[in-house]
Symmetry: C2
Subunit: 726 residues, 2 copies
Amino acid sequence: MVVFTLLASTKVMARTSPNLVISTADVKDMRGAIQKDGQFTKAFVASKLSVDEQIAQVITVPLPADGGGGYTHERHKKNYKLMYDAGIVYQLTQDEKYASYVRDMLLEYAKLYPTLPLHPKRKMGKQNPGKLFWQSLNEAVWLVYTSQAYDLILSSLTANEKTEIENGLFRPVVKFLSVESPETFNKVHNHGTWTTAAVGMTGYVLGEQEWVEQALYGLDKSGTGGFLRQLDELFSPQGYYNEGPYYQRYALMPFVTFAKAIQTNQPEREIFQYRDGIVLKAIDTTIQLSYNKLFFPINDAIKSKGIDTIELVNGVTIAYGLTEDSSLLDIARQQDQVILTGDGLKVANALDKNLDTSYKFKSVAFGDGNDGKQGALVVMRQDVGGEQAVLFKPAAQGLGHGHFDKLTWQFYDKGEEIVSDYGAARFLNVEAKYGGRYLPENDTWAKQTVAHNTVVVDEKSHFNANVEMGNANHPELLFFAKNEHATVSSAQIDSAYKGVSLKRTMALINLPRQSKQDHEQSLVVDIFDVNSNEEHQYDLPVHFKGHLISTNFTLATQLTSLPVLGKENGYQHLWLKAQAQPKAGLAQITWLNDNGRFYTSSSIMDGDASLIFSQIGANDPLFNLRNENAYITRKSHAKNHTFVSVLEPHGEYNPSKEFTISAVSKVEALTYKKINNIDLVDIVFSNNKHYLLAVNTTKNNQLNTFSFNGSKYQFDGRFKLFDIKQ
Amino acid sequence: MVVFTLLASTKVMARTSPNLVISTADVKDMRGAIQKDGQFTKAFVASKLSVDEQIAQVITVPLPADGGGGYTHERHKKNYKLMYDAGIVYQLTQDEKYASYVRDMLLEYAKLYPTLPLHPKRKMGKQNPGKLFWQSLNEAVWLVYTSQAYDLILSSLTANEKTEIENGLFRPVVKFLSVESPETFNKVHNHGTWTTAAVGMTGYVLGEQEWVEQALYGLDKSGTGGFLRQLDELFSPQGYYNEGPYYQRYALMPFVTFAKAIQTNQPEREIFQYRDGIVLKAIDTTIQLSYNKLFFPINDAIKSKGIDTIELVNGVTIAYGLTEDSSLLDIARQQDQVILTGDGLKVANALDKNLDTSYKFKSVAFGDGNDGKQGALVVMRQDVGGEQAVLFKPAAQGLGHGHFDKLTWQFYDKGEEIVSDYGAARFLNVEAKYGGRYLPENDTWAKQTVAHNTVVVDEKSHFNANVEMGNANHPELLFFAKNEHATVSSAQIDSAYKGVSLKRTMALINLPRQSKQDHEQSLVVDIFDVNSNEEHQYDLPVHFKGHLISTNFTLATQLTSLPVLGKENGYQHLWLKAQAQPKAGLAQITWLNDNGRFYTSSSIMDGDASLIFSQIGANDPLFNLRNENAYITRKSHAKNHTFVSVLEPHGEYNPSKEFTISAVSKVEALTYKKINNIDLVDIVFSNNKHYLLAVNTTKNNQLNTFSFNGSKYQFDGRFKLFDIKQ
């Protein structure tokens, strides 16, 4: 343990090092751990090997020249990771060569940095520019890592070396990111979080408490900006981040890293208790917003991102270090990555001892907005011999990466997407695909309403695809309720289209089994109510994953030429594959997912509405889009319309074992009525089962009574599923 | 052990029971095994549970009424499996209730069978009819199981019961399947194998050695038919079955079952040594014809069938029982199914003791036809940090389930199909999809040449899609050779099209690494030579799996309307998505597979040939086809043409870890020359590597010499890969 005095600082304080995410006590434990076998030692050996390979090469600190993905950009990113990793290896091995390598690289940076103008590839007006990187965001990330690397080797440096590095590098970077960029620094936004974390952590290392105060409360320390304000504003009370789980995962990193550093340096701040434990809630909510290890891909999400991303590995590691909640180990085991920190050691030891218990995924309506009242992201789950989930999205717009998909839904079963969301149109970092950035089709297709499973009015997108309008308006969650057999939620929005109100009620149901021999039977019920004083065209798409097996109505399929469905707002990307006009009654569409299960959607048709089967891919000159399938229920020239349907998973297709069971829907009849403000969906099955779902979406929902088919019924509260004996 | 005399038989012989696939010695071991924990006991407990549930129901032996998939059909299938399983449980538990259940069901059958006419759903002219089932094939399968079930409970029966069951059931069934159906019985065909196995096994149980002789040598015992003739004719000397692995797996069952029964009863026949061990070779070849657990899907194959199918589980179990080859346990572990036999016990014990060693997949040219000289199915494999495989198919037609795909190929990498085969157009047992049978599109698409990766002349299929023509002609394998860095094979056929000769040479290459830092670099080289005296249109499709990333030439993409590519022979099912006419030189097409790797095809273009990008799905009114993608190189109005291309796996797309590496091909130039009958493909890479593949496909291949770019080269034998220093 080395105690020293920071001469360069005006404020003198005694300090041990390291003392950010990793403390000296952690280091002691970690040095002990690597003497024994186990997951921690394995991770250390792998990291050391990688560091050894890299430090055998000459140090390269190039003059900044390239934008994102380019050589100098990538090199500076590699450098900060390498310095951080080498710092850890130094602490664990106490081999000076690692510290020297980091020192030499820092000295190079200290020489270079003061000479740098703004980055040549900066984009004025769009992103704040950096000096090492084209945008200051990267510069802040660089500092979060590099301040930690410096902290890890501090004890090996001479006073002169420290002065040179701090004066040449850290002080100028901090100055550039804080007082010289007040707008970003004070911004209550993810970029601001990286910046305040970077400046605050550097403040701890250099003993500049003033920087810490500014990081926490804003440049003027008024509390109108800064880390705490970000914790107040960017999450809902339940820990939901407005942009959705894909960005929540990304945003998490500076929050958990800086919080941990604050906890190490100033435990008296009780940062992890702040706002009723919002940091831990945010970590847990990120986990909750996943299915089969992948995040629900709402908004601009890359669909393969999931719980094993490094940001959430860090989050889970720090959360376990604090709480020792054994169910977090379940997630850690799936993440299969051990972090070389004190908390990482705790996780590794616990996994080595098989202390993990099952993590519970829950049905929750995550309130949106800082007050939790700007709509909600609703997750409904049930275990029917395998987990099912409905994601229902009466959430707010979610800023620039948000999609125009108010009240959309997704369905997951047996590990797979069944009713899906396209996610972002992007091939991350693939140069040939628009430089790896968001594709033009992200705007023309992925964000548009028709790309989602919600009502499109007159072939236009919600808010006319205007982000500001979207941000200014949000749906209202009417209720979220559950009991043993069902989870039900309802929400509405009147502002997505002028003069049209949209209201949707969704239920995830697991029917009661009448005997042990009964198979599990689950259902998703969807009631979508559209009301207007004017006539409109209402389209309700269902983007389904699987192979179309059958329809109970005749298809007029395009055989020798495929026309495009529309002209704009996403419709220009849809091929019209087939049309149908089912007669009044039940329209059934069955598809087969790769998971080997059949799915039948049964909808109530009025004899006037039509069905369109589409495939994505029109107006796509460079094959940027995935050719996925949807069917669209279209009601034209209507003022009011209620779309009612039931989605029913059934059977199994097992060509390997050569059997197919229950390939046919059991739903025989479906009716919908509204009595005394109560929505009634009556479902009759071919095996003589008969259920009636009654939902009251109004606030006046005590003791609901109604008559149905000559019988009287009553229930308390929001809903009841009646099992009607034949 | 019970010794008894069969009174009903004219020939009296002493016999112990059971003594077919399972012997009395096996039973003793198995009874011991289930006293202890382990995989065998687990399998037994599961089987007993299932049997207990089923025998709690009343015995149902319905009057035959339904065809395949219908109620009586499925019931009689369930009955034979149940009787067999209950027989095993009886032997292991010695609980009489299981024997009584089987006895009572057999007595029901003995009452019913003599009253049965031919099955009402029989299809005259197409399949031989049965009595219990619509086709006699099912009746034979029924007897294979039921004769074993009878053998398992024989010791529990009174003489009267035996007489009643044998006279009422087994003798009439045997008579019906043998002397009354001489055509099927003597047929050298899979149906014949089931029939001879059924009759022969029943012969052993009833002590009717005459039936055994007929089963082995044909009804007249001349050897022109029967089981041994089937072993002679239906497999190539290497154990390849003419219809391909999907049907080989199915055909295997009666071969291994009857062979095992012969071995148990008459070890002196040395049946497993017959024809140089053809039964074991057939089992091993079935395993070899798989990749990542799934069979290569040539011909009418359901693509999800693989090594865990019950037929191969039986095959591997019996093979391990005979050979104790520990590498078979590797397969058995992946199959994860334990058979309740003596051999199954051996496998389970060995797995419990972790005796398995790695099974080696090899590069092999499996000769086709009973002499192994009617073409070949060529498998090339290499391990490049993950297994790669090329399947090259200069094989014979493979009868009615064969596809018109002479010289086609497939490529597999990192566990996935990269260049693919459609397999069969069928949703097995899914009633809504054409009754679960082969779809009409199996003929109009899946079997047609354009559905494969081989040359189509004038938009017609090989042999004009005439099966008889196909069966009468086969390609010639010119050679198959390998060394440390490459596996090369060449084949030709002149009969697929009148007046057009097709010759293809394929090489799977793993380039030598010049340093440890070098990445593995593998390639597939394809040289397709077409020759005719007349002008034709030559199309060479590549059905690729993945998302199109880029082309190095301009695409004319259909934006607002998709036309159909052609009128017939499969072309009517292809949408024309884009066209291109690359200038002379290198045309490159890159796609990204779900396995996260990029694949670039680099082809030599002459400035005249064009490229077509297509998607399956036109003229498909009921959405029966999968919408898969292909590109087709088209050379019109040519007499002779050589298609030369190189397929190069490269890089990694990892959006979860946010990196993309080597997304761009390293192939910079490609030239092809023919000098002194030597095919030369010169490949220049962007990293200054430069290789020359020289292949001599002629028989005169001793000491090949040639000059290339001013240097002299020589090699012995079929091929050499020259590493040309810059």
